[in-house]
C-alpha cells in the first residue's frame, strides 16, 4: 500500500453514448465495436485513472446465458483485456471485472455454490490468461456469492483479487452482511484488497470504508456512485457533479481507502476531479487492527479475547449420547438441531458448536444441511465439529461466515487435511494438544504439543488471530491432578501464547456425585485462571450463575451490577406463584383460574374443592360455567381477547378432565346439544371454525367437526345421522360464501330441522339473513351464546 491508486468510472452509460443499443449485450462490444470500448478506457486514463476495469462485468457464463452467448465467454473476456491493455499502453494497470450472477446461492436462492464457483472460475481463468493485472469482484450483494467468487479467483490464478460488496442505506448488504463481518471474513480468506462499490454515493460510503479499514489489514478500495439516479426532463441524471464527487475523495482517503474510483453515474470528469483532489496528498497513516480472534456469521462478528467478557460456545448440537437427536439426524430431520440452535442462542450462547457424528450416515451431507439450516435461523457464528475432513469441507463451504474448526490436534491426518482447509476457507482453528501417542498429562507437555500445532499452522499461512487453545479437560475421578493441570495449562497458554482459550467442562466430573457442583466450581476456577470461551450447556443454570458470580469477583462485572440484578430477579417469586388461592374460596379460586387461563394450576384447585366437600355439579355450574359467562361479558366489552378466551377454554378442558377422573359418576359433561360444524366446500381457512369448535366443545356441546373444504352432501348427512341441534358453517372468502346458501338449501330439502349458524370474515348479518340462516356469529364467543339460545328454541 505505497500509493493512492485511481480507478476509472462508469462503463455502461459511456457504452450507451458510444452506440450500445438498449437490450443488447454490452460485452459484445468488445468484439463488435472494440474502438468504442478502447476510447472509453483512454478517456479515463487521460482523466487520471491508474487502474482501468475491463468491459466484462456481465461476461461470466451464467450472465451471458441471457444473450445466448455462453460459448463465447472466453473470447469476450480475452478481447476485453486486450483492448484495455492496448488503451493503457503501460500507463495504467488492468483489472478484470467480474459482476454477480444475478441469482442467489442456496439456501437464499436456487443456485448451487459449486455452479457459482465454476461460473467465476471460468471467467477468472479467461481474464487472467489474457493478462489482467488484477481481478475485481464487484457489486456483490451476498457474502456467499463473494466467497464462491473469491475461492474461484484464487484457484484460477495468482494475480491480486479485489473484493467489493455493495451496501444498502442501512449499512448492510441486501442479504444482511455488515462491513465488519465482511472485512474479517474476506481478509481471512485471502482477499488482496477489500472494498465497496455502487448502490450509494460517497457520503454514505465514508462510514462503511472506515469500518472496513478498522477490521482488516489489506488495502481498501471504494468506487461510489454519483448519487442515486432520477428522471429530469425525460433524461436519467445522477445528482452529484464532478466537483462535489472529487471533494469526497479526500474524506474517503481519510476514512482508510487508498484505491479510489467511481461507479454508476461517474464520468471521466468525475475521475479527473477525484484524481486532482488527492494527487498531492500523502497516504494517511492507517491504524491497523490488532490480530484478535474474530469469528463471523453472515451478519454478525464475535470476538474471543481475554480483554472481553466470556463467550459461551453452545455444545448441544451434538448427537453423542443423545438418542433422540441422533435418531432424528439419521432420519434426515433437522428440527431438533434447529431447535437447539435457536434455544441455545436464547439461553446466552454466543457461538454454536455443530457436530453431526451419527454412525451410518453421510456426514458431509448432514453437515452441509445442518450448517445451511442453522445459518438461516441464527446469527451466532458456528464451530464445525468433526473428525472427517470431507464433512469439515462441506460445512466450511456451506457456511457464509468465518467458522471455527473444532478441532485440530497434532495427529498427522488432522495437520495434513484440516490446516489447508482452514487457510482456504479463512476459518479459525481450535487447537487440541493431543498427539498420536495420546493425551499429554501435564501442562508442560500440553504446551509443547501446542507449540508444534501452531508452528504447523503458521507454515500453512495461518497467523495470530486464528487460534483458540483448548486446555484439555480430563476426569478428576481418574486422575487427581486433572483439575490442577488444566488450571496451570490455562495460565501458561496466556503467558506463552497470548491466544484465547477454550475447553469442554463437563469431562471433569465423570463418575462423581453431584456433578453440577463439581462442574460449576471447576468453571469458576478456570475463569480465574484464564478461560475465555467455554464449550458448555448454556441451559445449565448452575454454570450460568457461576459465570455471573465469577465475572463479579474477577472485576469483569464492575461492582457486581449484572450479578446483583440477576440474583435479585431470581429471588423474587414468579407472579404465578403468588398465594392468591389462600385468599379466595375454592369456587372463587377455580373461577379466577379459568378467567386467568391458569391451565397448570386448575387440576389441583379442582382436587382441593372436591376434598373440601363441594359437589362436581356445583363446581361445574358455580365456578366453571360462571367463569365462561364472565369471560363472554369481558370479551363482548373488549376487555378480553380471543387468545385469552382460548386459554380459558383450555383451562376449562383441563378442569373437566380432572372432574371426570375424580368423580366419574357425577361428572358427565353437561350436554347442551349436538353441533355439526364445518368450513364449506372450497374454503381452506379453518382457524375461525376451529376456535368456535373449541369454545363450543368446552361449553358443554357435543361437537362433530367435519373439518375444512367440506362438501354440502357430507354436511347434510352428518347433520341427519347425528340428529344435530345446530349446524355451524364457516366461510372466509367472498368466493366461498355462496356455498353457505347451497348447504342451507340442501339441509331444508333433506328435511333436516337443525338450526343453522354461520360465520366467517366476509359473512355479515345481512348475508346470513338472505341465505336463510337462523343465526350469524361474528366470533366464537358470540357463537357459544347464540348456540345456547338456539337449542332453547
Amino acid at each position: 500500500m505505497s500509493r493512492i491508486e485511481i480507478f476509472d468510472g462508469a462503463m455502461g452509460t459511456m457504452l450507451q453514448a458510444g452506440g450500445l443499443q438498449p437490450g443488447a449485450c454490452p460485452e459484445l462490444m468488445n468484439v463488435e465495436n472494440p474502438e468504442v470500448v478502447k476510447n472509453i478506457h483512454r478517456a479515463y486514463i487521460e482523466a487520471g485513472a491508474t487502474i482501468i476495469e475491463t468491459n466484462t462485468f456481465g461476461a461470466s457464463p451464467l450472465k451471458l446465458e441471457h444473450y445466448g452467448l455462453t460459448d463465447r465467454m472466453a473470447e469476450l473476456n480475452k478481447a476485453a483485456v486486450t483492448i484495455a491493455k492496448e488503451a493503457a499502453q503501460g500507463r495504467a494497470k488492468v483489472a478484470g471485472s467480474m459482476g454477480p450472477t444475478g441469482r442467489f446461492i442456496e439456501p437464499l436462492g436456487d443456485l448451487s455454490f459449486d455452479d457459482a464457483y465454476t461460473n467465476f472460475f471460468d471467467q477468472a481463468t479467461a481474464l487472467a490468461e489474457a493478462g489482467a493485472d488484477f481481478l475485481i469482484i464487484e457489486t456483490c450483494i451476498d457474502l456467499q456469492e463473494m466467497r464462491a467468487a473469491l475461492l474461484a479467483a484464487k484457484a484460477a490464478c495468482d494475480i491480486p483479487v479485489i473484493c467489493q460488496l455493495s451496501y444498502s442505506e442501512d449499512g448492510r448488504t441486501v442479504t444482511g452482511t455488515d462491513p465488519q463481518s465482511a472485512a474479517i471474513l474476506l481478509d481471512a480468506m485471502g482477499a488482496d484488497i477489500i472494498g465497496v462499490n455502487c448502490s450509494l454515493g460517497p457520503e454514505e460510503l465514508v462510514p462503511i470504508v472506515k469500518t472496513l479499514a478498522e477490521n482488516c489489514t489489506c488495502p481498501i478500495s471504494v468506487l461510489p456512485n454519483a448519487g442515486m439516479p432520477y428522471l429530469k426532463d425525460g433524461q436519467t441524471v445522477f445528482p452529484m457533479g464532478p466537483e462535489d464527487f472529487g471533494k469526497w475523495g479526500v474524506k474517503l482517503l481519510e476514512a482508510g481507502a487508498s484505491y479510489l474510483g467511481g461507479c454508476c453515474g461517474t464520468t471521466p470528469e468525475h475521475i479527473r476531479e477525484l484524481a486532482n483532489a488527492v494527487k498531492d496528498l500523502p497516504l494517511p497513516e492507517r491504524r491497523l487492527p490488532a490480530k484478535r480472534l474474530w469469528l463471523t456469521s453472515r451478519s454478525k462478528a464475535v470476538c474471543i479475547d481475554r480483554s472481553l467478557p466470556t463467550r459461551l460456545i453452545g455444545e448441544r448440537i451434538n448427537p453423542t449420547g443423545r438418542k433422540k437427536l441422533a435418531a432424528e439426524i439419521k432420519e434426515g430431520s433437522l428440527l431438533g438441531v434447529k431447535k437447539e440452535a435457536v434455544n441455545q442462542v436464547k439461553a446466552g450462547a454466543h457461538l454454536l458448536d455443530v457436530n453431526m457424528g451419527v454412525g451410518g450416515i453421510d456426514q458431509a451431507a448432514a453437515m452441509k444441511r445442518a450448517v445451511t439450516e442453522i445459518s438461516q435461523l441464527t446469527d451466532a457464528p458456528l464451530s464445525i465439529d468433526t473428525s472427517d475432513a470431507k464433512a469439515l469441507e462441506a460445512g466450511l463451504k456451506a457456511y457464509p461466515g468465518r467458522a471455527l474448526i473444532n478441532s485440530v490436534s497434532y495427529e498427522p491426518e488432522r495437520i495434513a487435511e484440516f490446516l489447508p482447509l482452514a487457510k482456504k476457507y479463512g476459518a479459525a482453528i481450535l487447537c487440541l494438544p493431543i498427539t498420536p501417542d495420546g493425551v499429554p498429562k501435564t501442562a508442560e507437555e500440553r504446551i509443547a504439543v501446542m507449540h508444534k500445532i501452531i508452528a504447523a499452522a503458521k507454515e500453512q499461512g495461518l497467523d495470530d488471530g486464528d487460534f483458540l487453545l483448548d486446555a484439555l479437560v480430563m476426569t478428576v475421578s481418574a486422575d487427581k491432578n486433572a483439575c490442577y493441570e488444566v488450571l496451570i495449562t490455562l495460565q501458561m497458554y496466556r503467558e506463552r501464547f497470548g491466544y484465547p482459550t477454550t475447553m469442554g467442562l463437563s469431562n471433569i466430573s465423570f463418575g462423581l456425585p453431584n456433578r453440577p457442583l463439581i462442574n460449576s466450581t471447576f468453571f469458576a476456577m478456570c475463569l480465574a485462571a484464564g478461560l475465555d470461551a467455554p464449550i458448555m450447556n448454556p441451559y445449565d443454570e448452575a454454570m450460568q450463575r457461576a459465570l455471573m458470580a465469577s465475572a463479579a469477583l474477577l472485576g469483569d462485572d464492575p461492582n457486581g451490577l449484572a450479578y446483583s440484578k440477576n440474583e435479585a430477579n431470581l429471588a423474587v417469586p414468579k407472579a404465578a406463584a403468588t398465594a392468591k388461592v389462600t385468599e379466595l374460596s375454592p369456587l372463587e379460586a377455580i373461577k379466577q383460574a379459568v378467567i386467568d387461563g391458569e391451565k397448570d394450576e386448575i387440576p389441583s384447585l379442582v382436587e382441593n374443592a372436591l376434598k373440601s366437600g363441594l359437589e362436581a355439579n356445583t363446581i361445574t355450574e358455580q365456578a366453571l360455567t360462571a367463569a365462561m359467562t364472565d369471560i363472554g361479558v369481558d370479551f363482548g366489552a373488549g376487555r378480553m381477547f380471543l387468545p385469552q378466551v382460548l386459554l380459558s377454554a383450555e383451562t376449562m378442558r383441563s378442569a373437566f378432565n380432572k372432574l371426570k377422573e375424580l368423580t366419574p359418576a357425577n361428572a358427565a359433561a353437561p350436554n347442551q346439544g349436538t353441533v355439526v360444524i364445518a368450513t364449506v366446500k372450497g374454503d381452506v381457512h379453518d382457524l375461525g371454525k376451529n376456535i368456535t369448535g373449541a369454545l363450543l366443545a368446552n361449553s358443554g356441546f357435543k361437537l362433530i367437526d367435519l373439518g375444512k373444504d367440506v362438501d354440502s352432501t357430507e354436511i347434510v348427512k352428518a347433520a341427519i345421522e347425528n340428529n344435530a341441534d345446530i349446524v355451524g358453517l364457516c366461510a372466509l372468502m367472498t368466493t366461498t360464501m355462496v356455498q353457505i346458501d347451497k348447504v342451507i338449501a340442501d339441509l331444508k330439502e333433506a328435511g333436516c330441522d337443525a338450526k343453522v349458524m354461520v360465520g366467517g370474515a366476509a359473512v355479515t348479518q345481512d348475508y346470513a339473513d338472505s341465505a336463510g340462516a337462523d343465526a350469524y356469529a361474528p366470533d366464537g364467543v358470540k357463537a357459544v351464546e347464540l348456540a345456547k339460545e338456539l337449542v332453547k328454541k
Partner: protein, 224 residues
C-alpha cells in the same frame, strides 16, 4: 424466475400480537407470543419468487406473454405512472399450517392461534425481505417502488389470482390455488409492485397501504 429465501432471524412479535387480535390486550404474556414466533421460525420454509414485466398504465396491461389486463379502479390508480411491474409470490410452506391444526386437535387452542398469527407475520416478512432485496437493484436503474398490492385489496378481484400465479412463477416455489381462488399453502401471498421513474424533487402518490386498503373495518388485526 429468480428465487429468494429470506432468512427469518426473528419474527416480529409485535406483528404476531396484532394478527392474533391482541393489540389492545395489555396483560397477555409476551413469552407466549415469543414462543409462538420461535416455533414459527423453526417450522417455516420461507421462499419467494418474482418476475418483472413492462406495464402500460393507460390500458392497465402487463406486457407478458400472453398479456394480462389488471382489473379494478383502485389498483389502476395505484399503478398510475408506472412503467414496469414486479409480480411476486411468497410463502412459508405447509409444515407450519399442519402444526397449527395439530395443536388445535391436541387442545392447545391458544398456542395454535398464536402460531397461526406468527406464520402470518412470517409470510409478510418474507415478502418484505424480497422487496428489500429488490429495492437497491431497482433504485440503481432509477426506479422507485410502489407499495405491494394483492388481489382482494380494494377492488382488485380475487378472480385475478390465477394470473398472478402465472405471472409470478409461483408454481416454482410450490404456491398454487384452490378451486375457489385461495392460495395453497394457506400462508402465502401474491402481489404486484409498480415501478416508476424517480423524478427530481417529486414524491409519488401511493394508494392506501395494507389495512387502510381493506374493507374489513372491524377486523381485530386492523392496525390502529
Amino acid at each position: 424466475m429468480p428465487i429468494y429465501n429470506t432468512p427469518l432471524l426473528a419474527i416480529d412479535a409485535k406483528e404476531a400480537r396484532r394478527y392474533a387480535g391482541l393489540q389492545k390486550a395489555q396483560d397477555f404474556a409476551e413469552e407466549k407470543i415469543l414462543a409462538a414466533c420461535q416455533d414459527a421460525r423453526l417450522l417455516a420454509q420461507p421462499c419467494s419468487v418474482w418476475e418483472i414485466y413492462d406495464y402500460d398504465c393507460q390500458s392497465q396491461m402487463i406486457q407478458s406473454s400472453p398479456p394480462c389486463k389488471i382489473q379494478g379502479e383502485k389498483i389502476g390508480q395505484h399503478l398510475a405512472g408506472c412503467e414496469k411491474v414486479i409480480l411476486l409470490a411468497a410463502t412459508v410452506g405447509d409444515d407450519i399450517e399442519e402444526d397449527v391444526t395439530r395443536r388445535f386437535n391436541a387442545g392447545e387452542y391458544s398456542m395454535a392461534v398464536l402460531l397461526d398469527a406468527a406464520a402470518t407475520a412470517a409470510v409478510e416478512q418474507v415478502a418484505d425481505g424480497l422487496e428489500k432485496a429488490l429495492a437497491p437493484k431497482m433504485a440503481a436503474k432509477g426506479f422507485g417502488m410502489k407499495w405491494r398490492f394483492s388481489p382482494g385489496y380494494g377492488d382488485w378481484p380475487l378472480e385475478q389470482q390465477p394470473e398472478l400465479i402465472r405471472l409470478s412463477s409461483a408454481a416454482s416455489i410450490g404456491v398454487g390455488l384452490s378451486s375457489s381462488m385461495m392460495l395453497v399453502p394457506r400462508k402465502s401471498v401474491t402481489a404486484i409492485i409498480g415501478l416508476y421513474r424517480k423524478q427530481e424533487n417529486k414524491e409519488i402518490q401511493h394508494a392506501p397501504k395494507g389495512c387502510a386498503a381493506c374493507s374489513q373495518v372491524n377486523c381485530p388485526s386492523r392496525k390502529r
